[in-house]
Symmetry: C2
Subunit: 353 residues, 2 copies
């Protein structure tokens, strides 16, 4: 196996672009070109002791028997957006789901579905971004797959990542664990990822560009576990936004959630973009935000720890689990007015992750 | 969570087809329709103790720390073919990769990418097939994801499955373990899966229909491990066929492989279809065939065990690891003639898995 040293970003694409400026069907056919793509691009880029066995699957020795296991296919359009790209998102997205289980991320599988006609340079750029994100977070890509589908637009690229993480705490972090009295804390402002994508797609321009909040949450969560915060539940606020995440938890747990409208942080330019497009920030996707449910008496300490981290400096409490109709989320304003939070029913923001 | 009892195949699609005859973008948007699809179709269909926690990832206690981990995205066209469908293939394909590591399959993740316009009845049929295949093999689907992409042909459906299996043997099953003198045994005839797909696509008709050999190999492999066969390497013969599998092993191991041309079993109608289409059966994909490398002295016993199983009744020895130029596979005929086996370089059979 070849290995590439040094700064991968300064390297040229290892597939000769004069010969293969675009992905062709044979790159997914299992013959010479598939072999070349894997041996010359993916193996050196993601090199590690497990991947180099070049077997049908990865052979892993885990630190323990208790693991978290999660999968995500990424179909975002456009592939590159302010604050990130599909490669970074594919790594962070799956790792964040592991983090929400309170797991320490260990291993990722990586599966590409490439459209015939995809510029090879685009694939190279995305693959480099995946490498950088995996190195940053300290996970190994240990097994993979590449398929090619027939030409449509010529720029489609889908990525599935599936992750394994080690669960090393004794908590039961899941919707069923939330209890009346639990404080609900968020690690920052909502709606940036979805609006960054929409603004790019619709060509909206604002005084300040909206950038995605795309970020890996494992470090922050592991810090909370190290400090022995008695976490009841966590969820990242991706598709469907804060609203869907909380409604799903309320439904699964059979509990009632009350939010304070004024406490939910939203950037001015996100609010503005949402108004222009007729969207509610509560429904807009995030890629670096999560909510955490903790017993009321642990709330202050939880906030303190989250705020001490870069990805949590704007954290705040946004609500509580309360007695009330099970499976319902209610938003209260400063004047005591209440409205029921609903999942959106239209398309709203397709392909934002 | 709802649970569905009885024969799922006799049940009606749980999504009202009058309301949603086709998949729409909102089924992947994270709002009400996504929630309905998961809660009404996938959760009841794949119900198990882990999936019902409805968390961001599955929380698993494994039987041990040593596991195999493998991923596969399935993009086959057409979705239904003689002998199988994309759902069955998505389950068997990933489980067969686990089996090739000598692992006992435990858990699968399941991720759908659906094209807007896909008939809901098609999704229901594929999901039922996945359920049946998983039940047959005894694995649990424990976590999943669903995305929707914009309309192209209106009938695309891609499935990623990623699997975890328990490695409970002490062998080192990998290309690097093969040794000169090893016998190479195959569990039956080659080329059926690829030719079944091609015959369907090209509208070829033969006296006997070619059906895919699509089958789960774990039972057969676990039997060999139980009987303490000292396996050096195994590989299933999917994309790229027997040729690619053996060349990849020869290259990774730096060993020479000699095959006996006459010993490689091919059905008459597969041979005929290959001749019409100008293909070499050595390059054609299989979905229920594998090669196994064992020391010469264990060959007879290995053959005996494989032949005692339904999926191995036509097993035979096809060659040996020999001294000779490393990284090369050579085919010998009865008259002593030799030719080098090469990976194919064209597209040949795209989207056969």
């Amino acid at each position: 196996m070849k290995t590439l040293a040094g700064d991968m970003n300064s390297l040229q694409c290892p597939i000769p672009l004069d010969d293969y400026p675009q992905v062709v069907m044979a790159h997914g056919g299992g013959g010479k070109l598939t072999h070349q793509l894997i041996a010359d691009m993916f193996q050196p880029l993601f090199a590690n002791d497990i991947l180099q066995n070049e077997h049908d699957g990865a052979d892993l020795i885990l630190p323990g028997k208790h693991i978290a296991f999660t999968t995500d296919s990424h179909v975002i359009s456009p592939l590159f957006f302010p604050g990130g790209d599909i490669g970074k998102l594919a790594v962070y997205g799956t790792l964040n789901d592991l983090a929400m289980c309170g797991a320490r991320p260990l291993y990722l599988s990586l599966s590409f579905i490439l459209e015939e006609g995809l510029p090879m340079a685009t694939l190279w750029k995305v693959a480099q971004s995946i490498r950088a994100a995996a190195l940053e977070v300290g996970v190994k890509i240990v097994t993979g797959d590449t398929k090619v589908i027939n030409r449509n637009q010529g720029n489609e690229l889908f990525i599935n990542t599936t992750g394994i993480g080690a669960i090393e705490h004794k908590l039961s972090i899941r919707p069923a664990s939330i209890q009346p009295g639990d404080a609900i804390i968020i690690n920052g402002d909502i709606g940036r990822h979805g609006m960054a994508i929409m603004a790019t797609r619709e060509g909206l321009e604002f005084e300040t560009e909206i950038t995605s909040d795309c970020a890996p949450l494992a470090g922050l969560v592991l810090e909370l576990l190290k400090e022995e915060i008695p976490i009841h539940c966590m969820r990242d606020l991706t598709r469907g936004g804060l609203a869907s995440a909380l409604i799903e938890i309320a439904l699964t747990a059979g509990k009632h959630i009350t939010l304070s409208d004024e406490s939910i942080p939203v950037l001015e330019q996100v609010k503005g973009a949402c108004e222009i497009l007729g969207l509610d920030p509560m429904h807009v996707a995030n890629e670096g935000k999560f909510v955490i449910f903790v017993p009321r008496k642990a709330a202050e300490r939880t906030l303190q720890i989250i705020k001490s981290q870069t990805l949590g400096k704007d954290a705040c409490k946004i609500g509580e689990v309360t007695d009330g109709q099970p499976g319902m989320v209610v938003l209260e304003n400063a004047f005591g007015g209440k409205r029921i939070v609903d999942m959106f029913s239209g398309e709203q923001l397709p392909r934002i992750c």
